[in-house]
Symmetry: C2
Subunit: 281 residues, 2 copies
């Protein structure tokens, strides 16, 4: 019997005693100065390896923004399967590409992301309809995080449109709950800048259905409210993502150590905030 | 002064006397038999080169579904800049990735797709809000096709949600028109399986704003109604995409010739259908 994605996620959160997701989002303009001085072909692998080595003891998951890798061209994308393999299966590896396409294409995305690149989970958006989520039900060991409410200021334009089932994003949370009950491999993405949405999502999702929360740190979302409202009754089922705050913690020679220190600080702070919930860690 | 994307598109449609967009969407399971028998590393480049060589005289544009390339792994994505360069600037080269993310990420996508990979245009969806389209206004020579109404049967779930500005997809067409008036580099995607939507989109967009139409052929959209309702008053501003119907026209030894013949047939049929419009070709 295959281990379903939600069960695997919970096992890893417990084993690592961490809810931290490190956003490995390289930006050509923001690489640390010592990395910028390397030969062009060395920059991205050195940066990724350095951040992973320093943050590995503190992270439960790594999230890779596909756009960040496209910005480095095909050579950037070629780093993905390498670093996924290097991190290994004791952390979750999530490709953040917000896939949204017709079902036939979603199947190709699924086969590529899981089969070829080796990721454990992918983010999707539902803009092309509910049927476009179906291809991700076929392999329950791989996760699909459905974007319900994003972290940016323009998120309400579409996501808060009223419908008979409530605001559109809450109808999506309802679909996450329905698919989760069937397959045990779904989660929701809700931005840290919309705490009320995190609270409503947790209420609708109950225990064990993960919420992936971007937007703490640089984007201004509040960590304490995110953890308080986001964890389930066991104090888990939450991944708090930080990208720029960790990977660009320093632009100097201490860039890797600074990333590690910031990851540890954030992990510890999250654990302290959730210590009153359920079984804690 | 830079040539805006819409002006360039119109120049190419006239020069090539074609509204045909060939969807270069490889699928590992559907490659022609002679290609499947090649060494693994040769399959994808041989397939792409063969289809491009055969269809080049008939196509105005090529559309590349990113999911199709992810399905071949990083080596698949590495084919993209090579084939884009091989096609050259006398055809439009469109990356179909339906990008939708926070503005900071959309900027990285833009820099990668245009700067690193060399595409002329990209498809996006607006799920994360109007602000997420803004990064594509900065370089008017590069095009952005905004998905208003997709071709799949589940499209209405979100896209036809009623709003004070009409169904959601029509509000998006309105934004395409607004951005187009400002920057001259936007277009709309409307599926051939929703002819009423094509008619309303053309009515709202007027002359010169391109509509990219997927869904003829395998997906069942009607070609005659697509052309009749989709062209502008000049008989242009329309790209009719066919993917599987062309690139998998034959699975035998004549696969490349069959793709070329099908592209020619479709181009000629489209030209005949639009011959009564405006200046025709």
């Amino acid at each position: 019997v295959v281990e379903r994605f939600q069960a695997r996620l919970d096992r890893i959160l417990r084993a690592r005693d961490s809810l931290l997701c490190v956003g490995l989002d390289p930006d050509p303009a923001l690489l640390p100065n010592p990395v910028k001085r390397m030969a062009a072909s060395r920059r991205l692998p050195a940066f990724l390896d350095g951040v992973v080595r320093a943050t590995r003891p503190h992270a439960a998951a790594y999230k890779f923004q596909l756009g960040s890798y496209l910005a480095f061209g095909a050579a950037g994308v070629a780093q993905l399967p390498r670093i996924v393999k290097s991190i290994g299966p004791n952390h979750l590896r999530i490709l953040d590409m917000k896939a949204n396409d017709i079902p036939n294409t979603m199947r190709l995305v699924r086969d590529g992301v899981f089969g070829q690149f080796g990721f454990d989970a992918v983010t999707v958006t539902p803009w092309l309809g509910w049927e476009t989520l179906e291809p991700f039900s076929e392999d329950a060991s791989k996760g699909v995080f459905i974007v319900a409410h994003s972290s940016n200021s323009g998120a309400p334009d579409f996501q808060e449109i009223p419908t008979p089932r409530g605001p559109l994003w809450l109808a999506i949370v309802g679909e996450v709950a329905r698919l989760s009950a069937l397959h045990g491999n779904t989660g929701a993405v809700v931005g840290a800048t919309y705490i009320d949405a995190i609270r409503s999502a947790r209420s609708a999702l109950g225990v064990g259905v993960p919420i992936l929360v971007p937007g703490v740190g640089t984007q201004g979302g509040q960590l304490s409210a995110t953890v308080r409202e986001g964890v389930d009754a066991n104090g888990r089922a939450l991944l708090v993502n930080s990208s720029r705050g960790i990977v660009y913690a320093s632009s100097g020679s201490d860039w890797a150590a600074a990333a590690g220190a910031e990851a540890k600080r954030l992990k510890d702070q999250i654990n302290q905030l959730r210590s009153g919930f359920g079984t804690g860690s």
